[in-house]
Amino acid sequence: MKIKYRQGNKKARVFFSICLGFIILFCLVVTLITMSCKSPEVRIDPDTLLPITVTDDGETVIDNPVVEPTIPVSSSETYSDIEKRMSGVTWLSPGKVNIDGLYPGATGEYYLRIHNSKDDPATFSIYSKEANTCTEGYTKLPPEFNKWIKINPSSIVIPAKSVGEVLVSVTVGLRDKATNKKYEIWIGAMDESQKGLVKSEICSRWMLTTK
């Protein structure tokens, strides 16, 4: 019996060793897969309008076909061309931003560009505001979620004939229950030097999709 027991014990050791090997291998594979699926922070390069994935090694531009200029009057006109063409106009760009796949704790951000066409510096205030009307399929961002929106800076002095940039970030609160929603919020910009009864503001429409 003693000999048989030892033989059995040896078989058990071999069996457990094999099992242990498989388990370790499985765990390593799972760990590698989950690490590769972990979402990086995504930003947009304001010059190229292409998404940038921020990695531990620095910033890597991804050639993402989602961002495609749509404004050119002629198909050969680039974003820079249009910007030059509109040098005499005070404008805000882009007109629409979509942030998809937001989840609790996630952030999507984008730089708004504002052009001051005047011959003097101008102070612009930038703010989020309730959408006057929503894109089909979207609803107004509930007021309790306005805290998701961060604008930096919220006031900017733009020199004459220059462009200023403002970073708009959307971060979903960790405890906010807003899964599978489609919200719209507007980001407005107003030249504070405007006089008179009637003032003009220009707005960018932000469409947020949560999951």
Binding site: S17, C27, S39, T70, I71, S93, N98, N132, V198, E201
Partner: protein, 182 residues
């Protein structure tokens, strides 16, 4: 045997604990896309020198300072011109705030005037008549023009109907035009 089991549990705990945290942090991508359009607009007239107003009276902000005639409203009768100077079609919204004052402010009402209550309306070229103008209440925006093409223009006017007053102090408000991508 016990050593093997303890070793096994130890290795598993070492591996599974970081794996679990990796699971917790796992997310799909957040995708940010933008339509690189340029939103811009101009409005030709920004002031309304109303002066002293009388109770229960209509004041027109039109080219002639009187009610547009004939109806529907014609471009020549309008006061101001909005131009879409952006690169794409835009919606033009408008909102107004209640009148503020060192005394008693005036409240905007959508239909009828009253004590310290006024009606402020806006219309554009082609508006059928006064009744078809947009009436504004505090802060709530309404669409003055939908889908104004790039380089397109629209002319507009306003009407203020006063109520009765409880003081003679100056009142002020702001009318805001909002351009956004259509």
């Amino acid at each position: 045997m016990k050593k093997i089991l303890f070793s096994l549990l130890g290795v598993l705990s070492i591996i599974l604990v970081p794996s679990a945290s990796a699971f917790a942090a796992t997310t799909a991508d957040v995708e940010v896309t933008a339509t690189p359009t340029f939103i811009a607009m101009t409005n030709s007239e920004a002031t309304w020198a109303m002066g002293v107003v009388v109770a229960s009276t209509s004041y027109w902000w039109t080219a002639a300072g009187t009610a547009p005639a004939p109806e529907p409203f014609e471009a020549d009768d309008m006061k101001s011109t909005i131009t879409n100077t952006g690169s794409v079609a835009e919606d033009i919204d408008m909102h107004v705030h209640n009148f503020t004052s060192a005394g008693v402010g005036w409240t905007l009402h959508a239909t009828v005037v009253g004590a310290n209550t006024v009606v402020l309306s806006a219309g554009v070229t082609g508006c059928t008549n006064e009744a078809a103008m947009l009436d504004f209440v505090d802060t709530t925006g309404q669409k003055l023009k939908d889908n104004l093409a790039a380089a397109g223009t629209i002319k507009w006017c306003m009407l203020l109907k006063t109520g009765t007053f409880t003081d003679g102090l100056e009142k002020s408000t702001t009318v805001t035009l909002t351009a956004s991508a259509h």
